[in-house]
Every structure is written in structure tokens, then in C-alpha cells.
Symmetry: C2
Subunit: 189 residues, 2 copies
């Protein structure tokens, strides 16, 4: 107890992702993760509530950033542009150095139905949070819901393309690009 | 066995919804449902795989209708309009007589987190299926994904408004109305 573990959290995260990726999420125990990270099991629980939190612990930080971005966007911005500028600012989470980490995480999630469901729930929560902050900006209930859903569609598509090695562009540029495609497909023909 | 039960399925569905609504989904057993419907437990399992299927059994019929609608839409229609015409055709599932049933189902789902998650997964599957049939129409991968997500956003908002007693309009009209609001919020300001 109290043993000094420099960057134990980072080592635990890396160990967990490697094991989930190699053996599968279900087949990995907290003991396995702690052992590979060179810490005791108790240290894992000091940093994460459970195995799943290693994969989803970042989502509340992302949600906070997106919500704050919309809340603080210039009042002159249209709702969709307030959301888009907030999505662009999320590039801090999606730097080139994080790409391999995100890909590994995505492989783990794609291989496990329960984790896929958790990811869907995370996106739905993000959309609900965005709609709420838009209503706080005076946007009507329906327009807020639709803008938030449209924003999440842009986010998911930009994120997928950002992970895809055939599209090695930065996240901010991808958000803009995807939004333009959304505008084109939704517009009156 | 082989006892003739006229409309046993309908009576089981009604009994289940009443019990889920009154006692909660978790607190209701298959024995309770069968008893209220006046059939033996085995009859329940002849019609439904489990308690949850009473609530979600209709979703594959909806998905088939939406997918077929997009597949068979005039090739001159833009992707978003093919999806919209398919959503409008889903009005057969959302007639005035079904409204009370849908409201009851929604109350049950809103009261149970596991059911809410199941509903999210159903919407995600619908979106994936729509994107696939759009790609089959030659729509690019990104445009297909975004059109499908936009279509599901319209569907969800139209469905919510259709259930809401302050908007007693028909489903088809609501789809058109919601799509126009989406077009307005997504358009360049």
C-alpha cells in the first residue's frame, strides 16, 4: 500500500489493451492486467472501477469538452456550427499519436457485443447531452434533438475515417469534410 | 397441447404489456403473463422466445419494410428522399389505433435501463441496414452512413412526436415535417 508506481495508470491501460486485444476482453482478468503492468491488483482498482472502465473512462472527458464547447460557442453561431466547432475542438483527443491506441481499442470493442452496446450507449448519452446544452442556448426541442443527432453522426463518421489508415488526415479536417457531405445528402435535391 | 387458442398471441401481448406497465418488466414472470392471458406457459413460448421479444418482436418487420422501401424506391430519387419515402410508408405500423399501444410500450422501456439499451441497439441495427441498402443503390460509403443516420434521427423524432398527445398528426406528415426541420438545421446558415 502506498507503493510509488510512476504512471501506474498509463501502464495498466496499456497492459489491459494489449491483453484484451490478444486474448479477448472476457478472457482477461484484472489479475492478468496488474501482473503485466507490474503492480498489485489493488492498484488497478485505485485507477479503474472495472475492466470496462479502461475502455470507456475517457468518454466523460469527451462529453465535458463537447458540452462546454457548445455552451461557450459564440451566440451568433447557428446550432449546427456551434456543434461542429465543438467537434473540431475534440481533436485534442484524436491526435496522430493516439491513432494506434484508438485502433486497438476499436478492435477490442468490435470483437465483443457487450462492449459494442456500451459504445452505442455512450454515443446516445453524448447526443442527449448535446441536445440539452443546445436547448439551453434557446434552440427548440426538436431542432436541438436533430442537431445533436446530426452532430453525433458527423462525429462517428469522422472518428471512423480518422482511425482508417487510408485517410490519414487530422480530426478537425475530417469533421469539416464529413459535415459538408452530410449537408449535401440532407439538402433538397 | 394443441388446445385451440383464438388470438393467443394478441392476448399474450396485451397481458404482458399490462403487467410490465403495472408491475415493471423485471417483476413480471412468463407464468403471470400466461395466467392473465388464460393460456398455459408453453403457449407463451410458442409465440415469443422470451419476455423481451413481446416488446421487440415487431422491429424486424419494421426493418424489412424500411429496407425494402429503400431498395424499391425509384432510382431517380436522391438517397435521402428514398429513405424519407420509406419512413413515410412505415405509417402502416403507426396508425392512430396503435398509438396507445406504443405509448404503453414506451413507458415500459423508459422505466428499464436494459430495455432502453435494447431499443438503442435496435435503432443502430436499423441504421446499419439502411446504410447497406443505400450502398447497394450505388451511394458512397460515407454518404450512405450519413443518410442512414439522418434517416434514423428523423424516424426517432417523428415517432416521439407521433406518440406525444400534443401532436396528434399522422406519422407520414410528421416524417415530412421533421425532415424539413433537419434540412433547416443542417443547412449552411
Amino acid at each position: 500500500m502506498g507503493r510509488w508506481n510512476p504512471n501506474a495508470r498509463g501502464r495498466l491501460e496499456q497492459a489491459a489493451l494489449e491483453l484484451y486485444d490478444q486474448r479477448g476482453f472476457e478472457q482477461t482478468t484484472v489479475a492478468d492486467i496488474a501482473s503485466r503492468a507490474g503492480v498489485v491488483e489493488r492498484t488497478f482498482f485505485r485507477h479503474f472501477a472495472d475492466k470496462r472502465e479502461v475502455l470507456f473512462g475517457g468518454s466523460s472527458a469527451l462529453q465535458d469538452l463537447l458540452v462546454q464547447g457548445v455552451a461557450e460557442a459564440a451566440s451568433s453561431l447557428a446550432p449546427m456550427d456551434a456543434v461542429a466547432s465543438s467537434l473540431e475542438a475534440a481533436e485534442v483527443f484524436f491526435s496522430a499519436e493516439r491513432r494506434e491506441h484508438s485502433r486497438q481499442r476499436q478492435r477490442i470493442i468490435s470483437a465483443n457485443r457487450e462492449l459494442q452496446e456500451r459504445e452505442l450507449i455512450k454515443f446516445a448519452s453524448l447526443s442527449t447531452a448535446l441536445a440539452e446544452v443546445l436547448r439551453g442556448r434557446g434552440v427548440s426541442d426538436l431542432a436541438a434533438t436533430l442537431t445533436a443527432d446530426a452532430g453525433m453522426a458527423v462525429f462517428k463518421a469522422a472518428f471512423e475515417r480518422w482511425m482508417d489508415e487510408t485517410h490519414p488526415r487530422d480530426f478537425r479536417a475530417l469533421v469539416r469534410e464529413v459535415l459538408e457531405v452530410l449537408r449535401a445528402v440532407v439538402a433538397h435535391p
